[in-house]
Symmetry: C2
Subunit: 723 residues, 2 copies
Amino acid sequence: MIKSFLLVVLITCVSFCYADDGYRLWLRYDKITDAALLQQYRNQISSIYFEKQSSTLSTAKKELLTGLQGLLDKKIVDAKGSANSSIVISIKSSPGNNNNEGFQILSKGKQIFITASSDIGALYGVFHFLRLLQTHQSTRQVSITSTPRIQNRILDHWDNLNRTVERGYAGISIWNWHTLPDYIDQRYIDYARANASIGINGTVLTNVNANAIVLTKEYLVKVKALADVFRPYGIKVYLTAKFSAPVEIGGLKTADPLDASVQDWWKKKADEIYSYIPDFGGFLVKANSEGQPGPQTYNRTHVDGANMLADAVAPHGGIIMWRAFVYDVRVQKAEENFDSLNTNSKESSIASADRFKQAYAEFKPFDGKFRKNVLIQVKNGPIDFQPREPFSPLFGAMPHTPLAMEFQLTMEYLGQGTHLVYQAPLFKEVLNADTYANGKGSTVAEVIDGSLHNYSVTAMAGVSNIGSERNWTNHPFGQATWYAFGRLAWDHELTSEQIADEWIRQTFTNNSNAVTTIKKIMMASREAVVNYMTPLGLHHIMATGHHYGPGPWVDNLGRADWNPVYYHKADAYGIGFNRTATGSNALAQYQPQVQAQWNDSNTCDEKYLLWFHHVSWSHKMKDGKTLWNELCSKYQEGIDTVRWMQKQWNTVKNLIDDERFKQVQMFLNIQEKEAVWWKNACLLYFQTFSKMPIPPNVEKPNNTLDYYKNLKFPFAPGIGGNN
Amino acid sequence: MIKSFLLVVLITCVSFCYADDGYRLWLRYDKITDAALLQQYRNQISSIYFEKQSSTLSTAKKELLTGLQGLLDKKIVDAKGSANSSIVISIKSSPGNNNNEGFQILSKGKQIFITASSDIGALYGVFHFLRLLQTHQSTRQVSITSTPRIQNRILDHWDNLNRTVERGYAGISIWNWHTLPDYIDQRYIDYARANASIGINGTVLTNVNANAIVLTKEYLVKVKALADVFRPYGIKVYLTAKFSAPVEIGGLKTADPLDASVQDWWKKKADEIYSYIPDFGGFLVKANSEGQPGPQTYNRTHVDGANMLADAVAPHGGIIMWRAFVYDVRVQKAEENFDSLNTNSKESSIASADRFKQAYAEFKPFDGKFRKNVLIQVKNGPIDFQPREPFSPLFGAMPHTPLAMEFQLTMEYLGQGTHLVYQAPLFKEVLNADTYANGKGSTVAEVIDGSLHNYSVTAMAGVSNIGSERNWTNHPFGQATWYAFGRLAWDHELTSEQIADEWIRQTFTNNSNAVTTIKKIMMASREAVVNYMTPLGLHHIMATGHHYGPGPWVDNLGRADWNPVYYHKADAYGIGFNRTATGSNALAQYQPQVQAQWNDSNTCDEKYLLWFHHVSWSHKMKDGKTLWNELCSKYQEGIDTVRWMQKQWNTVKNLIDDERFKQVQMFLNIQEKEAVWWKNACLLYFQTFSKMPIPPNVEKPNNTLDYYKNLKFPFAPGIGGNN
C-alpha cells in the first residue's frame, strides 16, 4: 500500500519535470494534462480485476496499475471480482487457439473488458489500453479487436560477446555477459516492457557474425537468465548459430551438415539449450557470407545446412531463420569482371556479376526444399539497407518457402547515431511494393504475412538500434523507428503518420502544435536523407569500413562489389548501374509488370533511375532539368529540408522538456553539417566526370575534393570486433 | 520563475521515489526528512546574495538555488543585496593570493557568510554548505575555514579514443569523441558538478597508454569543447603525451628529446593547444614502460624527456606529470634471472632483479634535476595497486623533486566492477605511513602535500573508476571511493569514517541505523578483500591479462616479473619474496627505521610478511598458528567478512531505495562467490607446495585445482585496445 502510494507520488511528480532523459521511451505514465479528459478517465476508472493469475498476468497487472495510477494520479483498486470493476481482464481460451496473441477491448456501460485467448494477449491488450489513455483517446465507446498479422516479431541484436555492437551507434551492448547470470540489470526488465508494449515477441541476442562461445554451457546459463526475465513478457530468446561451432567448441573435425556426427552434435546442443530454456526460439544463421562459414564450405547447399539445424530444433518447436544476405561464392567471378568495371565504358560489359542478383540466384532454386520450420530471412532490398532500395526480387519468388523480412533499425547508412530519420516511411514503401507474384496487388506485406502464399510460419526482423545509452538509441528519434518496427510487425496496415502520431503523444506530449510539427519533421526526414546522401537511385557510395560519410571515389577495395565505383559507375558519359537486359539484367528477377515499371530510363520512376540505368549527364528529367542539374538540386533539397527541420524543431522549444529539446537541436546541427558534407563531396567527385558546373540554385562547395577524400575517422563507431 | 517552481516540484518529488538509479551520486537534494531540522533550516534560510558575477559564480548560484530549493522544499530568493539575505557569498581577493581555492563559512546572527579569495573557492564553499544540510549539520553556529592541502587534485582517465577504458569496469568512456565538439552530453556537466563538489580540479582525459591522435587539430577542438564545459567548475583538462607523437603525427624522423626539431615541435604543439584552451593543465606521461616509447628509446634520460615537455608548457603555466611506473629497461636482466626463479630454492638467488626496486633505482639519481614544473607521479606502492602494498620507497627519497601520489580508484585488483571495497582505508594507510625521511613523523602525506620538502607544486591523482554506466561506477559503492579520493586530496587529515559517514548521508540516507550499518560494512571491506585475495603480504597472484580472479600458478609469461610465481615464490620450504639483504635487498631503499620494522620475519608486521620474507610453511605466527594454517584462516576470514557484509546489508532493506538495495545485494552475492573462488584456487595451489592439510576451521574446496586453472574468461572487461 505504501509502495503504491509512493509510486503515485513519483509518477505525479515526473509530469512536472523540466528534464527527461529519455530512458522511459514511450512508456511515460505522467499525469494526463488535459483536465477535462483526466476527469473523464478518473470518473470511469477506479479499479481493475484480473480473472486469472500467471506470471504474465501478474506482469500485466503491475503495468496496468503503474500506468493508470500515473496517468490518472489516483489510487486504483486491485478488485476481487468483476461485477463493479472498471476494467476486467479475462482469458477466454478456445480450443486450438492458444497461440493467439490477439486481444479485444470492449466497453459495456461504464466497464471496460480486455479479453484475450492467451495471457500474452491480455498483456498486449493492457499495453494497448494504456496507449489509448496516453494518446488521449476516448475510452467510452471502445470496440477494438487486434491480432498480429505476423507470428514472429523479432529484434536482431548485432551484439558481440565483448559488448561491442556491430553497426551500433548507441553505446555498447545492453547485455552485460560478464555479470550475468548473477546480476540482473533493471534495463533487461525495461527492455522487455518496451518490446512487449509494441508486440515484439522475440530477440536474437547475438551478432549474425557469430561467436560459437555463446553456445557453451558457461554462456547458456547467462542466456537462460535473460530468457527468465523476458518470459513473462512473451519474448523468446534466439541465438545466432556459428556454422563451425561443432569444430570450434565441439571438438569435431568437420562441420559438414551431412556428417552424422555433426548432425548429432547440433541435436545434442539443441537438447542442452532447451533443457535451460524450454521456450527457446531457435537460431538465426548467416552462412557463407562475408567470411562466415557455412554449408558451402563443405560443398553442401543452404538447404543442407538449414535443414540440419531445423531438424535439431524441430522436436522442441524451434525455428531457423537462414539469411539470404550472401555474396561470397562469386568472389572470383566478380573480380574477373573488375577490370571491365573500370573502363568507364558507356555500357558496362558485365552481364552476369552483380551483387544485386546473388540472393535470388542462390535461393530461388531451393524454393520448397527447406524444412517447415525454416524461414529465409531477406533484407528489404537487394543490396544493403541503403536509404532507398527497390524491394528484393526474392519477395514473391519463393511461394513454397516462408520468407522473413529483415529491416535495419540501426542507421548504418542513414546518418548513424546523430541524424533524425524516421524509418516508418521506408518500411512502408517496401511493404506496400507490389511484387505482382500473383497478379496486381501482391504486395511484399502479403508475402511476409503469409497471406499470399499461405506460409505456415511468418516473421519480421529488425536489426536493433539499441545500446547502453541512457535513452537506448542515442538519438531520441531512434526510438520512433524501434516503435514503428514493432507496430508494423503487428499490423503493417498502420500508416507512418498514425504511428508517428501515437509515438509523439506517448514520448513527448499531446500538445497539438507540438504533435503536428514533430510529425511533419518525421515524415519529411526519410526523403531528406535520401536526397542529401543518395538521390535518384544512387546507392552504396559511403566511406569504407565504418560507412560514416561519403566515399563515392573508393575504388581500391579487395572485391569489386565492395567499391562505390562498382555501384554508381560514373564516367564521362553518365552515371548509374545498367541492370536492364543490356547490362546485368538483374531486372529479369522481377515479374514482368515490375520490370515494365523500371526498365525504360525515360519512364522509370526517377527515385530508382540510377539503380537500373546508366544515363547520360544530359539525360532530360521529367522536370526538364538535365540529370546533372537534377542531381545537384536533389542534394541541395536534402540540405534545405534539414534546415527546415531545424527551424520547425525550434518552434517546439517550450512545448517539450528542455533536455531532449536541446539534444535534438544539437543533433540537427550535426545533421545539417553532414548533409552539406555529403553534397559537397559527392558533387565535387561526380563533377570530375560530368565536367558540368554546379547550377546557381545549389550552394558551392567550400572545400576541395581532396579535402573530403583525406578526411579520416579512425575511431568512428559501429565496427566492433567479435573477438 | 516558472522554471524554478517546476524545479522545486521535481526535487520535492524525488525524495519520495521508490527507486534511485544512482546517477545523482552524492548530489541528491531531496527534501530534508527530519521535520524539526527542516523547520530550523527553513526559518534560517530564505534568500541568497552573490556580491559578484562570473561564470563560476553563476554556476555556484545555480547549484545553491537548486540545492536549497530541493533540500528545504521552498522557493529561495535570489536577493539584490546583502543586508537581509540569509546567505551572502563574497569574494575578498587579497594580493598575491588569487590561487587560493579555500573558503570560509561563518554564521553571524541569522546570516551565513560564505567568503573566498577566488570564484572557485566560493563554489567549493557553496558545495560544502550544501553538504552541511545534506548531512543534517547545524547551521546556527558555523565557523569553518577550509583550504586544500594539495594543489592539483586530478582524476586520470585511462580512456581510449575508441571509448574502451583500460581497467574500466563501468561501461565505456563517458567521452564520446565521435559526437564532440557539437554534441554536449549532459553527463559532461554532471561530471564537472560532481568533481567540483569534492574539490577535484583536474582531469586527464586520455589513457597513459597514449594515442598521439588526440594531439591533432581534429581532436583538440573536441578537447576544447570539454574544457569549455569544465572551466566554470574550476576543472582543468590535461592530456597524455605520447612520446613518439612528433614522429607519428608530426612527420619528424625522431622523437629524441635533445633534437632541436623535436623540442620545437612540442613547443609549437603546446602553443597550439593553449590557443584552444588557455588554461590547459599540461601533460601526463608514461614513458619507457610496458612498451610505451620514451627518452630511453633514444638513449636519453627521464630528465631529458620530462624537461623538454616542461619547457614546452612552462610559458603557459602548464605542468608535466611524469610517471615513475617503469619496468622496461631491465627486461633482459630479469629474464636472465628467470631460471633461478623456477628452481624453488629456499633462498632466491636474485639479488638485483626485483621490479619492486626499479622506480627508485631509476628516479632517485635524478632528484633535483627536473624543471620546476615537473612532478614525478608515483603509484602508492612499489608494484601495482595490490590490495595491500607497503608505501613506495620513493616517497621521502626525492626531497628536491615534487612527487605526486597516484592511487587507483578503478578496482583492477580489488574485485573490479562487482565487489564492495571502500578504498579510503587503503589511501589513509599509505598517506599515514611514516617514511622517516626527516625523522619520525615524516608521513607520506607530508611528502605529497609538500610540507616535508617544501615542494612548490603538489598533486594527487586517482585513476578514475568512471564509465558510461548510469550510476557512473557500476557498483554503487564505487562512488564512495571516488568521493573519498576527492575529499582526501583536499584534506588528507579527514578519517575514512568521517568520509564514509558524510558520503552515506548524502548518497543514501540520514537514517542512523542505516548510516551505522553501511559504515561498518564499508570500514570492513578493504581488509576483507586483502584476506580473500592476498593475505599476509601476498601480491600479484591474479590471472593473466584481464586480472580477473586468481592465477597464482601462472609461470609461463614472456617476462619473469609478469608471473605470479615471481612474486609469491612458493616452494617446498615456504612462501614469500625475500627482499632483505639476503634477497633482493629492496628493503635497503627505505630509511633504516622503516627497514627495522620489516626486516626480521619474526617481528615484521604480518600484514607485510610475504612482501619481504620467504618464510617456511611451519613458521610460527604471532597467534601461535603455523604460517600455512594462518594463511588458510585468513582466506576464510575474508569470506566470513563478506558473508557478514551480506547479512548487515540485508538489514537496511527498507531503509534505502529498493533499486540500489537490490543492486548491492546481487553484487554481494557475486563477491561471496568470488571470495570462495579465490580461497579455493589459492589454497589448492599453495597446498601443492606445503603438503599440509586445510585446517578444520576452513571450508574445504568444492572443486579441483585443475578446475580453477582451466577457467577461461575471454570477454572479461577492462582490456580495451587503444587502437
